[in-house]
């Protein structure tokens, strides 16, 4: 078991988003969280990442996490390769630069490693976020709308990366509004908290 949410309730801004939500994610599994805007999909990811505490219930994780949201968290004035290496070095990974170079190649940004982050387009920034996730080599991926801003080739690359990660024993929890071709992925539809 890589991630377990047991009878979790989440409140944001004084509003109860969901209650009694349970979810387990083991090696090779993927769960796609769907639901309308503002229903709490991103909050569920932040909860799973430990960035917010559950109002009720328990969240258990084993192993490291890689999180990708619309917030890129890369130094915009630095070159893309250097900005990503910073995070890989914080992970304490050996040969951080080589891992970053490989992950940039995987997401199709290998030729942009020396370009300052501020010059990247929206889609390239999304790919850069995924490159950081790849370089982290964490068993659990938490991806918030990872397909946003990606072109057709980018979405295919994303699907391939997720499949490879699952095949290697990793798990993925992701939110999305667009259909992604993920084999045997479970769907968790959030429909909001309705007071009894």
């Amino acid at each position: 078991m890589i991630l377990e949410l047991h009878q979790v309730a989440c409140a944001r801004g004084g509003r109860l988003l969901f209650t009694q939500l349970s979810l387990t994610l083991g090696a090779g599994e993927a769960v796609v969280v769907t639901g309308p805007n503002g229903i709490g999909k991103s909050s569920l990811l932040r909860l799973a990442a430990g960035l917010i505490a559950p109002f009720e219930g328990r969240v258990t994780r084993s192993g490291r996490i890689a999180l990708a949201t619309e917030d890129l968290a890369l130094d915009t004035e630095r070159r893309l390769g250097e900005a990503l290496s910073f995070w890989a070095r914080l992970d304490g990974l050996a040969a951080a630069d080589r891992r970053v170079a490989a992950s940039l190649d995987t997401v199709g940004l290998g030729k942009l490693a020396d370009v300052p982050v501020r010059l990247l387009s929206t889609g390239q920034r999304r790919r850069a976020g995924l490159a950081r996730v790849l370089a982290a080599q964490a068993p659990l991926w938490l991806l918030d709308e990872p397909g946003n801003g990606l072109d057709v080739a980018g979405v295919a690359m994303l699907e391939r990366a997720i499949a490879d990660h699952r095949a290697a024993g990793g798990a993925v929890l992701l939110t999305t509004h667009q259909p992604l071709a993920l084999t045997d992925a479970r769907t968790l539809a959030l429909d909001g908290y309705v007071p009894a």
Binding site: R46, A49, G50, L51, I52, A53, R64, I65, A66, L67, T69, D71, L72, A73, L74, D75, T76, E77, F86, W87, R89, L90, D91, G92
Partner: protein, 216 residues
């Protein structure tokens, strides 16, 4: 042990680089010197008066200069989700903020202390007074750096953060100013060091709590 040192070095190097990037340190020194230059214009060229007010003027200018980078110290990283990634990586926020204080001090204090040499020349300070001013800055600037980081975190994401930071930082920095400007007096350096140490010890926890409350 090696991994911990690599982590510390990586975080400090990143923040120092950001401190110096885009002429940040140069801006602080330029503002400091310009502020200092205003005093002789305002109070006249009397050498005895200038020597008497020199240390105080240098400290006032240092406080004002310390305000300049406050908005850039924490807010951009809060907005970009940098601190979320730090927490996901399992790093302690107070530790990261303590390292940010060290980095800010490295980017801010040595250039300021060099600029203070020029300022001391403008006021005609004698060697003994100059040494006292520099020693005072050495003891007081860590506290000033801590206060700047804590203020930057407390005002991150707020509208009018720059003005608010000034209103918050300047009153809290008064003990540093009082004991720093009077560092020639008996006991003042010890009190300055004590205030500075207290700020350095408390600021990482305050800054970390402020960042959590913004993002939670």
């Amino acid at each position: 042990m090696t991994a911990a040192l690599t982590l510390v070095a990586t975080l400090i190097a990143r923040d120092v680089r950001r401190g110096y990037a885009g002429g940040g340190a140069g801006l602080v020194c330029g503002f400091f010197l310009l502020s200092v230059v205003l005093f002789p214009f305002a109070i006249g060229p009397d050498r005895a008066v200038l020597m008497r007010v020199g240390a105080g003027a240098i400290w006032v200018a240092a406080l004002l200069a310390a305000l300049l980078p406050v908005e850039r110290l924490v807010a951009p990283d809060v907005e970009s989700g940098w601190f979320d990634q730090i927490r996901v990586h399992g790093l302690s926020l107070p530790l990261v903020m303590a390292l940010r204080i060290v980095a800010h001090w490295l980017a801010f204090a040595p250039p300021l202390m060099l600029a203070a040499l020029v300022a001391a020349g403008l006021f005609g300070l004698e060697t003994t007074a100059l040494v006292r001013v520099e020693a005072g800055l050495l003891l007081g600037t860590p506290g000033l750096a801590a206060l700047a980081v804590a203020t930057g975190a407390l005002t991150a994401g707020l509208r009018g953060a720059g003005g608010l930071a000034g209103l918050l930082l300047l009153p809290l920095a008064l003990p540093l100013l009082i004991f720093g400007a009077g560092s020639g007096d008996m006991g003042a350096p010890k009190l300055l060091a004590a205030v500075s140490l207290m700020l350095v010890a408390g600021a990482p926890w305050i800054a970390a709590a402020a960042i959590r409350s913004v993002r939670d």
